[in-house]
């Protein structure tokens, strides 16, 4: 088992800021876009931001993932990323939240003002 731990540790990124469920964050990811085929095939990379509320952090070590939820054009959108994924260019803290549970699934059933999370008063 020691070997697997070493492998997983080598996969982990150290530049990821600490964040928790309830926080609002902005995840900047790198997206590869391919167009054309054969010799004309070109791969372009661009960045895209996904800003929303962290509703879950799951798993441990290199396998840890988190889910960000946002409302896009009135539709709830959730995206799950591996915390240590190389496609994540940057994670920015927008607002720290004050919540009482680890998984904020109840947010899915709330609309408008009720779907907010308390702002953290004292940041440590």
């Amino acid at each position: 088992m020691k070997e697997i731990e070493t492998i997983e540790r080598s996969q982990m990124r150290e530049d990821i800021i600490p964040f928790q469920p309830g926080d609002t964050i902005k995840v900047t990811i790198e997206i590869k876009e391919a167009s054309g085929s054969g010799e004309k095939r070109t791969v372009r990379t661009r960045t895209q931001a996904f800003q929303g509320l962290v509703i879950r952090r799951q798993g441990a070590g290199a396998r840890e993932t988190f889910t960000v939820r946002k409302i896009s054009f009135g539709v709830g959108v959730e995206r799950t990323f591996p915390v240590h994924s190389p496609i994540i260019k940057d994670i920015q803290m927008i607002q720290e939240g004050d919540v009482r549970r680890a998984k904020l699934y109840y947010i899915r059933d709330k609309v408008g003002k009720a779907a907010r999370v308390k702002k953290k008063k004292f940041t440590s």
Binding site: M1, I4, I7, P86
Partner: protein, 216 residues
Amino acid sequence: MSKAILGEKLGMTQLFKGDLLIPVTVLRVGPCVVTQLKSKEKDGYEAVQLGFGEIPREKVEKKVNMPMQGHFDKAKCPPQKYLAEVALDPGEFKVGQRLTVDFAEGDQTDITGVSKGKGFAGVIKRHGYSGGPASHGSRFHRAPGSVGQCATPSRVFKGKKLPGRMGGDKVTAQNLQVVEVDKDKSLMMVRGSVPGPRGSIVLIRESVKIASKGKR
């Protein structure tokens, strides 16, 4: 030269390769020793016997009996925990030769192991029967149902899929791609899962399907 080596399954994890997340099984591969060469004249068939897992010196007395000690002395190697025969050409090997990982990234391998024992299993788990509805007054849940016809043939056909012992079989997973090799630690990572529990012994061979393709 076809390759074969014994190893131990250490467990599974994931690796980031580029922007892909690949599921891998980590294997400790070798070092193995060629303990015997089976020849047509003497044994009636050709094979190479490999040994894996050196027995520590202080345990040799307790673990190795005299006939086995003699067998290892012939190969001039320390006693090994596991022995396995592989159908390879004995002409390419020497007795006492040490084998280490010689697979490279991107190679296709076949990995043989003994699958996890599931005990006495019913037909749904063992053969993938669909079973009946759980509720709405249904009295048919996980039973196998009818096992055959009536007066003709008035018997149950041989090989009928019924409940019984499941798992613990020799299983080969084919075409597993080697994702990473660490020669210093003699570790190898292959894409996907490998039969058997963690800590079990597996035989890693060159993929038969890819090998036959190359010859054509």
